[in-house]
Amino acid sequence: MRCIVWKNKTALLVVFCLLLCCCGCGQNKKETIHFFSMDTIMDITAYGDSGEALQLARDTIESLDAALNAADPQSAVSVLKDGDVLPKIISEPLETAQAIAAQTNGALDLTLYPLSDAWGFFTKEYRVPSAKEIRSLLQSRGSFTVRDGVYACTAGTKLDLGSVAKGYAADCAVQTLRENGVNSAILALGGNVQTLGTKPDGSDWVVSVADPLQPDETVCNLRVGETAVVTSGSYQRNFTQDGKTYHHILSPQTGMPAESGLLSVTVLCENGAMADGLSTALFVLGAEGIKELYERHVFSFDALVITEDRSVYITDGLTDRVEMTDETYTQPKPLK
């Protein structure tokens, strides 16, 4: 009888050890992949059994990179001609970008590729174009329309979906992960963050926001659920010439780097392409324009705005979700 009890306890110990092992590695099992695509580094982390889902998500992003890269003359977006029927991978992000352009008085402009190229923001051979060259490139940049899925453009139009491509890629990658059984994941596509579900324990994700004056550091942490979090800032791509710094977010009005008094704008929104495109447009608009767009309720988004005087402003949805990590910036104030 005692022997049986003893064996039972031994068996119990074995089960206990196995349970400890499961607690240690099974429940919080996570897998991360890093890869380079869309001219940046991408990290995707999935929790639970992800199987081949991560690799499939990577394949999704890489196929979009091949299709949407305006710098590649062979890409689907580069070979687009007047009268072509738009494939879905172009029409979807294009539709989002056009909606943003329409509601922001053209603050997001998909035809500025020749101008950005003249500044050297694609080749990294930076230069300040002359006022005459900027004027000429603005005038000759062309225009396009889409009607019933058919693309129509004037001569010289070079469509660039770079302002929404990473966000759209995140949307598609999340869709791939979801279809392959993943329900908890976080993607960082070169600073574009997108979450799927919540963390495995049901808690919020914590997404930090880069300090625009010291990008290796952070300004604050945001507690978020399932959302896209995208930042546009003057620090992300810039160069200094004759003591003046020029950044890559060009104003479609002037052809010069936008001077809206902002250091960065972080947009939170369910749709990644929308968050991506809005962050660029909002940076061009400045604090007043952001407030006006937010109050019109045409798009469902929240924003964290950092101005040049180190003030931090947030929209209503971020109240109680921001924890400052750098005290040299103000505590977040409502964008009013």
């Binding site: 400890l20 580094i41 880069a210 979090v229 990590t325």
Partner: protein
């Protein structure tokens, strides 16, 4: 009957065994994290080039890669040089126990293993 009873481990014995298992597990987890805290992983184009335990480095040396040179020092690692125009990775400084240095043009990543940050991801 009495002899059998004396050979059977008591409840106290089993409590001690279970407690020991828990302590060993915790110690194992803590020690494995402690010893992996200073390991830098170098990859180029997705392929692992090296894993270096910086706490065991006694003399500085360089690792030449295609387009980059990495400098390994006792307890530290950094990008010494790169053949790209912007030199962002060179200016990213030194890693000790956390963080990551990335050279986009040459697709090189130096990452401290098990880097733990407060945040799950960083926007920007």
């Amino acid at each position: 009957m009495k002899r059998i009873h004396s050979r059977s481990p008591s409840n106290k014995f089993w409590i001690a065994v279970f407690a020991a298992v828990i302590v060993l597990c915790i110690a194992f987890i803590l020690l494995s994290k402690m010893f992996s805290g200073h390991v830098a992983v170098i990859t180029q184009d997705g392929k692992e080039i090296a894993q270096i335990d910086l706490s065991r480095v006694t003399e500085s040396y360089t690792i030449p890669l295609e387009g980059n040179v990495i400098l390994v020092e006792p307890g530290a690692i950094r990008m010494h040089s790169a053949n790209c125009p912007d030199q962002i990775c060179v200016h990213q400084g030194v890693l000790h126990d956390t963080g990551r240095i990335v050279c986009l043009p040459n697709r090189v990543i130096i990452e401290m293993k098990h880097t733990k940050t407060q945040a799950d991801a960083k926007a920007g």
